[in-house]
């Protein structure tokens, strides 16, 4: 922490060096890592030349994690310890997960934690940890190939991911030791990838049908600016559902409709789904396919599936995606005929029927020239290269929107929207609320996400309380609630009573997300599994941070302490400062960290005043034109 050290304008210039940054597509089925090297984009492969890393993790009984193809191949032998489609669990509550139609081949622990924890033979595991294990493999792959430490990564998420799911993804990256430069919406990344070769102007629809999620985004491209006009999607619809439908059809043909999918033992079910995936892929190349499947106790069944029958099976699902497209067009306030181009993303867009119906809806050419499995990672890598500062002359700018409205609960269980969906981010909005009862001295701020009117139908993101409101008659207090969404789509909420200046704020952590203790424990666990010196390093870093904080505060107090603070305010800061001096040489980094945070909190008003004063100084006597 260094407190606002204002340097001379134009003096500090970082010398140029190439900083290694990667783009990561953390997919439901497969994950990829790409980078920009010598001016061109490259998807990085493992030592066997494979680009796709199956998003599958198997936890062995000794606690070791096996990630990727090996885990996928042995999945049917050990379904309860092999985690597939973990992306569908990210940022979701146990109740939501259990209500999901997906048939999970692994078990969940019924613990106190609001986060679903997956039961494996070794221990119970949070979805964030599984994703982190996938990300770690990709990070190591990149570091090995590129020969250096990464400055950061752009990690992609479905545009429709809500705040909780974005938070979970960020946590996973943190656990994997990755610095997230930006979370990027997958469709936006795809559009960036196509912008690589062509200078485009026009309106583009990005249709992204992956293994487990569907997204549609309407983008406007103009002079190097990519502006998302609207996004919509479905977090539980994808190519996996096609496989599932084929499996159900086979069961029906085999006379097992009554018993259904649930009657199969887990490894048979898993094997069947792998086979139906292959059947689907084959039908993208040829008109019909003959096959032989093992149905466990029910023996083998062989038959033939034609593309026509497959189309009939999957048409309702494709129609569902087309309806979502219509909603996105409605939100963007344009017609299907206004779309100049359709970009296809995700392996499931290889299905001919999908291409056919999408082209028909938009009446436009459907772009498939970049591999639909790689296009997102490629776009993310381009953006990572820019954000790492390797392309200062770059003209590319991404303007993203938030996918769902944000608001708070008001009296009567109603949701009051403060930021409407599809607002371009970053965005800040403030709205005033008031007290409901005479003498009310606290107010519960319940942060919500969603489009519905009733609180019960929206997703609860966080709750916090504003205390210390001076007692007044009902309706007299003026409480300003401010929502700020940053460029990653992550939300900060603050509330302030205007007459007394009492305030409270939170960085929104999802109600059902991991608690701080859980996160700390997970971080600790990941350190324990690593080398011991990482612990020392973490402690040392914290001590350095404490030194830096002390130096900064001393310098700031010497410069502006008298001018900007009252005697009492100064004393408060000194109290915490002395406490930090006491604890900083101890060996408990958590204590040090907490004390630093305490000092930061004690100084927040001071910092704000210095910033105001600093900004005022810069502006005084100068108009915008002069500068």
């Amino acid at each position: 922490m260094s407190l606002l050290q204002i340097s001379e304008p134009g003096k500090s210039k970082v010398p140029h060096e190439h900083r290694i940054a990667v783009g990561i597509d953390l997919g439901t089925t497969n994950s990829l890592v790409a980078t920009v090297r010598n001016g061109s984009v490259e998807v990085l492969s493992d030592e066997f030349g494979r680009l796709l890393l199956p998003s599958v993790v198997r936890y062995r009984s000794d606690g070791n994690a096996e990630v990727g193809l090996d885990a996928k191949l042995t999945a049917s032998d050990d379904p309860s310890n092999t985690i597939v489609s973990v992306k569908r669990l990210m940022g979701r509550s146990l109740i939501e997960v259990q209500a999901d139609e997906t048939r999970w081949s692994y078990q969940f622990d019924q613990l106190d934690s609001a986060v679903p924890r997956i039961k494996t033979d070794h221990r119970s595991i949070a979805p964030e940890e599984v994703s982190a294990d996938i990300l770690r493999v990709l990070r190591e792959r990149a570091e090995k190939t590129l020969g250096g430490e990464l400055v950061g990564a752009v990690v992609t998420v479905p545009a429709y991911f809500d705040d909780a799911q974005r938070h979970a993804t960020k946590h996973a990256a943190k656990l994997a030791g990755l610095h997230v430069l930006r979370l990027l919406n997958e469709p936006t990344a795809a559009a960036v990838a196509y912008g690589l070769d062509q200078t485009k102007q026009g309106t583009v629809a990005v249709y992204d049908l992956g293994g487990g999620t569907f997204d549609i985004s309407i983008l406007r491209l103009e002079g190097g600016v990519f502006q998302v006009l609207s996004t919509a999607g479905d977090t539980v619809l994808g190519g996996d559902d096609f496989d599932h439908l084929i499996a159900l059809w086979i069961l029906e043909q085999a006379g097992l409709k009554e018993q259904g999918f649930a009657s199969l033992d887990p490894s048979t079910a898993r094997r069947l789904l792998i086979q139906t995936e292959q059947i689907k892929q084959t039908l993208s190349q040829q008109e019909s396919v003959s096959f032989d499947v093992n149905l466990g106790d029910a023996g083998n069944w062989s038959g033939e599936l034609s593309r026509g029958v497959l189309n009939e099976l999957i048409d309702p699902l494709i129609q569902k995606t087309l309806n979502t497209c219509r909603h996105a067009l409605h939100d963007a306030d344009i017609r299907a005929s206004d779309i100049d181009d359709v970009v296809m993303v995700g392996g499931s867009t290889r299905v001919p029927r999908v291409r056919e119906l999408v082209a028909k809806l938009f009446g436009a050419r459907v772009r498939t020239n970049i591999d639909p499995d790689q296009v997102v990672a490629i776009g993310a890598a381009i953006q990572a290269d820019i954000l790492a500062g390797n392309k200062p002359e770059s003209d590319l700018l991404l303007l993203d929107v938030i996918p769902l409205s944000l608001g708070i609960e008001t009296m009567g269980g109603l949701a009051e929207k403060i930021i409407p969906r599809n607002s371009t981010i970053p965005v800040a909005r403030a709205q005033e609320f008031t007290t409901f009862k005479d003498g009310q001295i606290a107010m519960a701020i319940h942060v919500l996400q969603g489009e519905r009117e009733l609180v019960a139908d929206c997703r609860s993101l966080a709750r916090f309380e504003l205390r210390g409101i001076p007692p007044m008659t009902a309706g007299a207090a003026r409480i300003r609630v401010t929502f700020q969404v940053d460029a990653d789509g992550v939300l900060n909420v603050s509330a302030e009573e205007k007459s007394s200046n009492v305030s409270a704020s939170v960085q929104v952590k999802p109600s059902f997300g991991l608690s701080d203790i859980e996160i700390a424990e997970m971080l600790k666990a990941s350190i324990q599994y690593g080398v011991k010196d990482k612990i020392n390093r973490a402690l040392r870093e914290q001590q350095v941070e404490a030194e830096r904080a002390l130096q900064a505060i001393d310098a700031a107090l010497a410069a502006d302490g008298e001018r900007l603070l009252s005697e009492e305010e100064r004393q408060n800061i000194y109290l915490v400062r002395d406490e930090l001096i006491l604890v900083k040489d101890g060996d408990d980094r958590i204590v040090i960290k907490n004390t630093i945070e305490k000092l930061e909190a004690a100084c927040s008003e001071f910092v704000a005043r210095r910033m105001d004063a600093g900004v005022r100084q810069v502006f005084t006597g100068r108009s915008v034109k002069e500068l």
Binding site: S2, E8, L181, T424, A428
Partner: protein, 215 residues
């Protein structure tokens, strides 16, 4: 146990409160030479921010062009490698630019904002609407309610929407003249009329979308 928020009728939009918020600066300032994010004056009017004259008439292409160049200057992605205080200021500036753009590009929001700038309350409900206008609105709402039961609901809804579009267009032309003449009292009434039509258009749209996605 405390009580959740209660709504108040007036609200305003500003990001300035955040500056006095709870942020801690971790890095020394690093000014980007030439085009600094601090060149943006967050306290100026939306028109000034976009270097446009305060006028109801504006060229959409000019607004879009200014918006893009402002975003290029202030978007947080431009400061991904800069200090945190600069990133914070960039986020605030970009937020302000976004708010301004959303307000200016929407002709109704722009009109309301201009009245606010002129010190007039744009949602003054004491203003009484002409009775024949209200009568017409009641009739249109009845048509809207009956449209889904018509033989060709989509055609009915489209017709209604086209009518609302035509009326709105005429009202916007009137608004233009009213702002030119600084006839703000007349503008308040026109704005309220437009809000009636906007609601009608919106509901007709929703019903059309529902029809389309039912199949």
């Amino acid at each position: 146990m405390s009580v959740v928020a209660a709504k108040v009728l007036t609200f305003d939009i500003s990001i300035r409160t955040i500056v006095s918020g709870h942020y801690i600066i971790r890095q020394p300032f690093q000014y980007v030479p030439l085009s600094s994010v601090y060149d943006i004056d967050l306290t100026s009017s939306y028109f000034k921010l976009f270097s446009l004259p305060i006028s109801y008439q504006l060229k959409r292409s000019e607004l879009d062009c200014r918006y893009q160049s402002l975003q290029r200057q202030v978007h947080p992605d431009r400061y991904a490698a800069a200090g945190e205080s600069e990133q914070l200021f960039a986020m605030q500036a970009a937020s302000q630019v976004n708010n301004a753009y959303q307000t200016l590009r929407n002709p109704l929001q722009r009109a309301i904002y201009m009245l606010e700038l002129a010190g007039i309350d744009p949602v003054d409900h004491s203003v009484s609407m002409p009775p024949d206008f209200l009568g017409e609105q009641i009739e249109l709402r009845e048509q809207l309610a009956e449209a889904p039961h018509a033989a060709k609901p989509a055609t009915e809804l489209s017709k209604l929407k086209a009518h609302a579009d035509a009326c709105s267009k005429q009202l916007y032309d009137e608004l233009n003249v009213q702002f030119e003449n600084q006839d703000y009292q007349a503008a308040v009434i026109t704005i309220q009329k437009l809000q009636f039509f906007q609601k009608l258009q919106h509901e007709a749209d929703e019903r059309l979308l529902r029809l389309e996605t039912q199949t």
